[in-house]
Symmetry: C2
Subunit: 305 residues, 2 copies
């Protein structure tokens, strides 16, 4: 059941930058594109990447245009990677507008992004059977030097970053789990529940969870929803990322302990992905080993071929 690993990037590879969710800041976009170009990548900006929705200010353009940009980038034979400019909200609104058959015919390529992109990872990974990258946003405020370096290493030299550990990683439940990485942003995982084309985690999955701007009671509500939906019956280990602007971290620790502690799963706290400085790029849909005793997540293979 191993998913296809897209080809790694090389100097001169072409990447597309798209905006499937919130409106993009032109200056941050220019800065992110300059970084990509400094890696000797050729950058194609999607036609609607700087659009604004006519009535809803939290969206980067109309649903049909955001969907067309994503699909065109994926289906462009020159494009080796589709990079999301930023998160916010809106990817869900394009999911059901994509031509999945056309995208499958285009063959495997890299999808990178995080936060709101979680729903695209979920859909693209499962529908197109590819490993994807939970990675910093090109035009996001957290695309700092460390995050850039780790993304660059993952894109160009994926065997060099198979072992992931954050600066503050700690164990939150002992043992070792082996399985396929899933998840990402908790709000977006729960926001997909109930959808007809929703994909539950594969058996033995290692679940990644992070969020931003969600109070502890909301984290509780979302974990409770996943528990009541039976999600954790498939999960063999949990890798927690950042909880930026979510209030008291000690309280979130107590929420997680209260709801998940009794499951006895290997669990790691602050693995260094999500909305944090130096955000690590984490492969999704990839076989990995979560070692909660040593606080590491190690990919069984390089994320890209």
């Amino acid at each position: 059941m191993t998913r296809t690993r897209p080809a790694r990037l090389r100097r001169g590879s072409t990447v597309a930058v798209v905006a499937p969710a919130g409106p993009v800041d032109p200056d941050l976009l220019a800065a992110g594109v300059a970084v990509l170009e400094s890696w000797d990548l050729t950058v194609k900006l999607a036609p609607h990447v700087l659009d604004r929705h006519p009535t809803l200010p939290y969206l980067a353009g109309r649903d049909v245009d955001r969907a067309a940009d994503f699909e065109a980038a994926w289906c462009d034979p020159e494009v080796a990677a589709v990079l999301c400019a930023r998160g916010g909200y809106g990817s869900q609104r394009v999911l059901d507008l994509l031509d999945w058959d056309a995208m499958a015919a285009a063959g495997p390529k890299i999808l990178a992004g995080s936060s709101d992109t979680t729903v695209l990872h979920d859909a693209v990974g499962a529908a197109l059977d590819v490993v994807t990258l939970f990675a910093p946003m090109i035009a996001g405020p957290l695309f700092d030097a460390d995050a850039q370096r780790h993304l660059q290493d993952t894109l160009f030299y994926p065997e060099s970053v198979k072992r992931l550990i954050g600066p503050n990683t700690a164990t939150a439940g002992h043992g070792v789990a082996e399985g396929v990485t899933v998840g990402g942003n908790l709000s977006l995982i729960t926001a997909n529940l109930g959808a007809a084309n929703f994909f539950p985690p594969p058996d033995g999955a290692i679940l990644l969870l992070e969020d931003v701007g969600e109070a502890p009671y909301r984290i509780d509500r979302m974990l409770t929803q996943l528990l009541r939906a039976g999600w954790f019956t498939s999960v063999s280990g949990v890798a927690l990322g950042s909880w930026a602007r979510c209030g008291d971290l000690a309280e979130i620790d107590r929420v997680v302990e209260d709801l998940l502690g009794g499951l006895g799963l290997p669990m790691v706290w602050e693995l260094g992905f999500g909305h944090c400085p130096g955000q690590l790029t984490v492969p999704l849909g990839a076989e990995a080993v979560l070692d909660a005793d040593n606080g590491t997540l190690t990919m069984s293979d390089a994320a890209l071929s």
Copy 2:
């Protein structure tokens, strides 16, 4: 498929006040109890109504205690109505701890509450086949004189309040719908999606929606989730309540129009229920007619027998 209407209250009836969700303010509870006693009701306070959870400050006591209080109140043969002290968050954590067979054996009675109580309405209404009341919280900050009067009228003289209209009600989509009222708080409706014992709306349902403290993009995300989950295929009309502290009402109007406008459903804006002054008590699980041209929701029968 008409649900059982619980018996109306009379002078001397006994009611129980429980706290299935957030921690209760003792002064607000005393004030609310005084109102109930002024209606010649005998009030039984649940043993754990003023508890605090040992580690999670947003919960009124431990899950087992909140569940035990709710179940004991429902099963107490003296109790004619179970009134929720306040919302916040936490009712979901008790749903799967209740003895539904014991509660069914206790026979129909009144459940009243709103906000977080939405998940109890959903579960109690469907599992016990009773009409429930989306009503102000006894120990909430919005239990004002108008809200008290409308709740009292509904509890004692339900035929006098069959026709609901708010002070600012406006049409948001024309026509007339006839069906069973469902819903309540949007966040809690979506937070139930995916649960094994989740109940989709009956065919032809009139959906009530309101929320508090949710930014427009979150309202979008939740409506998008309900749409993607197929919820609106069963809905024949939409009655919108208050959007308190949800940001710009004009933007929420645009969100609703963008996502639901195309469905062509009869829809009413600001019916006067939810987190607003003078909160109306709205029967759930009851046959009603939504007249979007005149901005009214009219119960086919009195909510209580």
